[in-house]
């Protein structure tokens, strides 16, 4: 596994992060924006794990950060979906352009 340099794993996570960012920029549907955020969080996890494994092999801190990020992502997805369902009940749409009451 030493044939693959650390840089290539970081390239993978960078590309995945920017794919998620592209989804967040172009989509206007709340559920698909949530999916893009999940992709970005996963790329951060890959970064933590790769740094832990390649640079600080005697520690476990990167693994812990990944586990905590996964937990917080689960909580965040649950709250976001509750908000989306509530918004659908009141607006009959989950498009972000339709929920503009707080803007004005």
């Amino acid at each position: 596994m030493n044939e693959v340099p650390l840089t290539h794993i970081l390239f993978l996570s960078t590309a995945l992060f920017f794919i998620g960012a592209y989804g967040l920029f172009t989509r206007r549907n709340m559920i698909t924006m949530l999916m893009a955020i999940e992709l970005m969080l996963n790329s951060v996890n890959i970064n933590f794990v790769a740094f832990n494994k390649y640079l600080y092999a005697d520690k476990l801190d990167g693994i812990f950060f990944s586990i905590f990020i996964i937990t917080i992502a689960a909580a965040e997805a649950a709250v976001a979906i509750a908000i989306i369902i509530n918004l659908y009940r009141s607006h009959h749409s989950i498009d972000v352009e339709d929920a503009t009451e707080l803007k004005y």
Binding site: N29, M35, T71, I81, I84
Partner: protein, 179 residues
């Protein structure tokens, strides 16, 4: 190129391809299925890095939990067969440009940065060590974040129920019934 390296590039191509499809396809149900495949690919990457515990957590929490939750919310809110409207052309062009330039900039920085690779003992992940360090109060233990995050999860779950609960209409709105 050895077999392990070939496996890595295959997994990477799988993750990126399904990720691109997840953010560009116009049917929302298909987008969630592509996201599912991308998350499975990331679990395969953890297996490739010999982090079996993290791969299992990834499959249980993301594939078994979050994606199922997303699919349920798709069924509850929109017609899953309909195509979503296309993003504005200007918006997609400018976001693609921003993404490409940002990725190129960061990859260039990464390529030039001299990482000091660890040359000591090889990395190995024992679940025993994770448990010991997670519940340790000294020696850089993670007991306080562990307790905080369990409180956060409890608060988030109760908050979800409170937000998504369906309020009953007040009784006096019902049409009057004659006895």
């Amino acid at each position: 190129m050895s077999a392990a390296a070939i496996f890595f590039y295959l997994i990477a191509a799988f993750i990126l391809g399904t990720g691109i499809l997840a953010v560009t396809t116009r049917k929302i149900f298909r987008a969630s299925i592509w996201l599912l495949f991308s998350l499975i690919g990331i679990a395969a990457l953890y297996f490739w890095l010999k982090l079996e515990f993290l791969a299992a957590v990834q499959i249980i929490v993301y594939v078994g939990g979050i994606v199922v939750l997303i699919i349920f919310s798709i069924f509850l809110t929109i017609k899953s067969g309909d195509e979503m409207q296309k993003p504005l052309l200007v918006r997609s062009i400018f976001s693609a440009l921003a993404v490409v330039f940002g990725a190129a900039f960061i990859m260039r920085l990464l390529q030039k940065y001299p990482f000091k690779l660890n040359t000591g003992k090889p990395f190995e992940l024992k679940v025993n060590d994770i448990g010991t360090q997670m519940l340790d109060t000294k020696n850089f233990g993670y007991l306080l974040p562990f307790e905080l995050i369990s409180m956060l999860l409890l608060a988030a779950m109760i908050g979800c129920i409170v937000i998504a609960i369906k309020h009953k209409e007040p009784e006096n709105n019902l049409p009057n019934q004659t006895i």
